[in-house]
Symmetry: C2
Subunit: 570 residues, 2 copies
Amino acid sequence: MRATELYAPTLREVPAEAEVVSHQLLLRAGYIRRTATGVYTYLPLGMRVLKKIEQIVREEMDRQGGQEIMMPIIQPAELWQESGRWDVYGPELFRLKDRHERDFALGPTHEEIITALVRGEVNSYKQMPILLYQIQNKYRDERRPRFGLLRGREFIMKDLYSFDRDADGLEVSYRKMHVAYTRVFKRCGLRFRPVEADSGAIGGSDTHEFMVLADSGEAIILYCENPVCGYAANNEKASVPVGEITPDETLYPLNRAETPGCRTVEEVAQFLRISPQQIIKTILYETEREVAAALVRGDREINEIKLSNALGCLRLELAGPKTVQQVTGAAVGFAGPVGLKGCTIVADPEVMAMVNAVTGSNTNDIHCLNVNPGRDFEVNMIKDIRMVQAGEPCPHCGSKLLEAKGIEVGQIFKLGDKYSKVLGATYLDEGGKSLPIIMGCYGIGVSRTMAAAIEQNHDQNGIIWPVAIAPFQVVVIPVSAKDETQVALAEELYHRLLEAGVETVIDDRPERAGVKFKDADLIGYPLRITIGAKAVSENRVEIRPRKTGEVTLTATRDLEKTVLKMLAEL
Amino acid sequence: MRATELYAPTLREVPAEAEVVSHQLLLRAGYIRRTATGVYTYLPLGMRVLKKIEQIVREEMDRQGGQEIMMPIIQPAELWQESGRWDVYGPELFRLKDRHERDFALGPTHEEIITALVRGEVNSYKQMPILLYQIQNKYRDERRPRFGLLRGREFIMKDLYSFDRDADGLEVSYRKMHVAYTRVFKRCGLRFRPVEADSGAIGGSDTHEFMVLADSGEAIILYCENPVCGYAANNEKASVPVGEITPDETLYPLNRAETPGCRTVEEVAQFLRISPQQIIKTILYETEREVAAALVRGDREINEIKLSNALGCLRLELAGPKTVQQVTGAAVGFAGPVGLKGCTIVADPEVMAMVNAVTGSNTNDIHCLNVNPGRDFEVNMIKDIRMVQAGEPCPHCGSKLLEAKGIEVGQIFKLGDKYSKVLGATYLDEGGKSLPIIMGCYGIGVSRTMAAAIEQNHDQNGIIWPVAIAPFQVVVIPVSAKDETQVALAEELYHRLLEAGVETVIDDRPERAGVKFKDADLIGYPLRITIGAKAVSENRVEIRPRKTGEVTLTATRDLEKTVLKMLAEL
């Protein structure tokens, strides 16, 4: 491809709309353009990257026996009503009406459609397992779309659905996908980690997320420092055992102290000269059904996902000052479990092991001292509801947990019979018994992977593509566009590389070399080949990998061989 | 691929929902399933055909310098308001609102989006020509979706847009696309014809449609019997010169005759014992602005597309009885141009050459005789407004025109500055003068081509795929699923064919041979290889092309060579 013909308009300025580096670089290097908030056009360079990722995904799905299909983007509301999700899904679902006033949704996911498809055709255990997938635009009307391709309203997903007769079959399909996903992200040249994740309050059981590691990632991963152990989970899911209980500590009598204006754990700890670990933090939440008080140790954070799961609720929000006053009789900051009525009390196991703790007293400006769970208050539920932190022991092997940041690019999920039951997708087993089909669903964010790859692989000059997903592998740059000998040699080498099967761009624009070098770095071609005076006089050209920046000189006659070798080793 | 693993559920019955043969066969053979009216899921077989067509399209677009991009499916209303199409487009445009009540459309076409994209980046004549394309779902909320993939509400299109500095540049881009389209449909193995088509009342000039020839086609094509001439147009566009005017015929005095109850041309001709060619047919229409009377010779049909273009109107409907009564003073069937007031009179040139003609008199049950245009009535406009019929002379060479039926699968269109002007997409020429970019747009119905291929290539047993777009090339069928030797040989040959790069299915289902043969014909594999007793005993297998049904015996050792040769020749 000739740079003069490539539609890849680059920008000198960082666009104001772009908050994260992948968004900035995709705009600046001419990979994408914004059409509406959270809605993008992929320009030729962006399209080439997408198609490379898609092809890797396709090959790995096919390798595991996946069959590609394509379901509609516009989905009739009837199926969503049948599954019950039409009313539950909320404003993230794009909805529309056709000319006959029939309701449709733009698919954020296709469980309903595919379950309805399969229920009409699969009726015997002999027809399973089935793995069907598609690669397609998906829609989610985000409240706050941002970060470019990391959180768009229109995005490209691969979604695969597995259909098995039982949990054992599902386990096989699930593992196939675990392998496929691992291969996909490895082939894309990314550093990533599969982590245990939360499967939500309703339905499903096992689930793993695949995280591309990047400092800019919003997801926090906790993983075991011991690589042999391999434990890794996101911080919504990570769970560690309760530490040892100090066995014989004396329980002192319950007492009260004035703590004027001390509302936060930090304020109370400082005022009473105690450690936050001695405080029981009490936070009130409202769900669609009730008010709940969540108790964790003062140095811990509440994990709202775990708390939601414990309460089995769809909606969970911090209780407002009015509710806090109503339930506790005090202002925000003075709630405590002693004598607390009219709400469900959920305590983290760590809290139950505390001795002579400090809590709010449900009276303004007063805290309780020497509070002892069991003796001084009862709880409705003891559940792990806290965030695990780096440094805590691994739940599998006891080694230390480390923390990393990641971008979720894939998730595999055991659905079980959640959709097949409600939508009536059943099969007959050998004995003629009708059973629900056991399903799994497996997603990869294709456009998101493109952005995550950049978050992980860039420097101040631009993108550093892994070779496998680079839009082109090599750029050939004649240093002087006016030197005919240089240009002729560049053209010759360009054609030789094309013939050798190397995806090459020749930068034939009448620009200064400096401009071309800047654009080459910005766009992120894995190899840059410079044709200058030396190349002409000495028959040697400079090859510079974008990743290392270390220039190699190679004889022009060996160029193809050297380039192919370097690309293979990058 | 093994038939036992292929998700391709076939149906024995013709589905009631399917009116046309492609729809019936796509459903029966397991290529597609209906998800909602006019909205389909493509199963693995259908997906394979689609992807083959897409790949051919992609290669031919790339060959002409096209660059693939992907624009959003959800399009912000602002751009449609800017172009003026938001209000004009009508109920065929799927519209929706996001959570902030902003209007969006599901793209039926992308002129607005791409013009807005390019206007931001292209500002010099040096940057053009540019050819950008995408292959993507498109949406049209048809009043009456039907015929399966031939007229769906969600369908797959390739749309390419060209950007040039002037009409000469556009001509080059247009011809490139004409070549590309010809190559695409040829490579797909289809019999087709590019025809001149109508470019509509508003904007644009040249346009060609690419028609797949099929008896079930809704479009009528008129083409010259002389292949050297090559003239072909759809019947909306076809136009022939006016025949010779009889020069010296005597004009008789205008007269009137009673024609009780004679309202149609046929009734009047029969009653007055004249030929329909002697009658001037007068039809009243209403547009958004006026009432118009259209005059054609009695044996001709009015071409409403041509009439719309002549009147420059957006809406054209037959006038109702009330309007006819009001304007002519008579009932429907007795309108005529003599003394007609209060409406625009448009006459076909043929009418102006008529002598002593018969027309309605604007009085019930009376017709005028010896009517002579010019002498007895004036017209506001003389324009070709009639349908051309088979048998008329070719406008290019005078040979006879023949008629064929076709399915439109592609259209190429010169847009000129229609969108660039209104959306402000301009460039600077060498002299620094700002000019509108000159555009063209070029569409191929990818999913429609799949259906059209079947309309053209099928028999009572099923589909007869052209090799290039068949989902698989070969099916291998062991006659007896219980005969281990046959099965082993079939497996061996299946693997040998796969290794030779032949896309092969082995029908390893535990079914009778008859069932497998029926399904093979239904699905439409180009070659069927049967492994029976003879194959085992004599080392010869039967190869049967789906197209001819003529069985060839070939030595098993030569199988790959024979198969590849036959596939190449099909």
